[in-house]
């Protein structure tokens, strides 16, 4: 039977994959996708803990996390569209005009 530890380890692995994606990928949309992976890993943790402690609160928090993720994806993609119109590129390394 999968124990709470199994679910938490899976959540940790998914979170690390998401973080690696944010660091390694040079494409704005893939970076946003990696952020979604991280949010999903956290959702899994919440639901697993909610089940372990027998309360529905875990699922309710997941509801809010999903809502926030949707809002953030929408605004993030709008920003990506605006950036793409400016520079015709999705590589974050091209947006360096404020650097020293």
């Amino acid at each position: 039977m999968p124990t709470l530890a199994h679910y938490l380890v899976l959540s940790a692995v998914l979170f690390c994959i998401g973080t690696a994606g944010v660091f390694v990928r040079r494409n704005l949309i893939t970076i946003l996708l990696s952020i979604e992976i991280m949010l999903n890993a956290v959702n899994l943790s919440f639901v697993a803990f909610g089940r372990a402690f027998g309360s529905a609160d875990g699922q309710i928090i997941v509801f809010f996390v999903m809502t926030v993720a949707a809002a953030e994806a929408a605004v993030g993609l709008a920003i990506v569209i605006g950036l793409f119109r400016h520079r015709e590129s999705l590589n974050p390394d091209t947006f360096t005009s404020l650097k020293w």
């Binding site: 530890a5 940790a12 690696a20 990696s34 699922q59 929408a74």
Partner: protein, 177 residues
């Protein structure tokens, strides 16, 4: 148990392929596959409402949004010319730190799994099936304020997305007004 491993392996593999793929459309589709596997895991955790909401909201709406943006921008594959110079994370300093952190993570995860018999990481208590009715009741009584705040949040995000993605359309005041 096997079902857990099936879903877990699918989720992890799909997520790894998401960050490894060059074509953004394939990345989005693989992420949808990962979300489907996570939805299966939620069903295993006795949370059918969250499982269905995950499909409806994440896989059915947010990913469609991503797909639209990728198609709208005709997102180019990542340029391999720009990868000629050494990726900043492949220099010796970051690589060493990354290796240490990876080893620490693996040790910690292994320790967590082998301590499964103890109280903290123990088996789940006998089924506490939380019905949709219980979730709804709790959402509208104990969590009523955050619920209303999320509605304002969604409104703000909607207005923000429309404004940010709009093309500059010239002077807003018509001449002669």
């Amino acid at each position: 148990m096997t079902l857990f491993y099936v879903f877990a392996v699918v989720a992890v593999l799909a997520s790894m392929l998401v960050i490894a793929q060059r074509n953004p459309i394939y990345s989005v589709l693989l992420l949808i596959l990962s979300f489907g596997a996570l939805s299966g895991l939620y069903v295993l955790l006795d949370a059918p409402f969250v499982a269905v909401t995950q499909i409806v909201v994440y896989a059915g709406a947010i990913m469609v949004l991503f797909l639209f943006v990728v198609m709208l921008l005709n997102a180019p594959h990542e340029d391999t010319e720009l990868d000629e110079h050494v990726h900043p994370l492949r220099r010796p300093g970051p690589m060493r730190v990354g290796a240490v952190l990876a080893v620490a993570l693996i040790v910690e995860l292994g320790w967590a799994l082998t301590r499964a018999g103890s109280q903290a990481g123990g088996d789940f208590p006998a089924a506490a099936v939380s019905s949709v009715r219980a979730i709804g009741r709790s959402l509208f009584t104990a969590y009523a304020f955050p619920f209303e705040v999320t509605s304002v949040l969604i409104l703000v995000a909607m207005v923000g997305a429309v404004v940010l993605a709009r093309r500059d359309s010239g002077p807003s005041v018509p001449p002669g007004a």
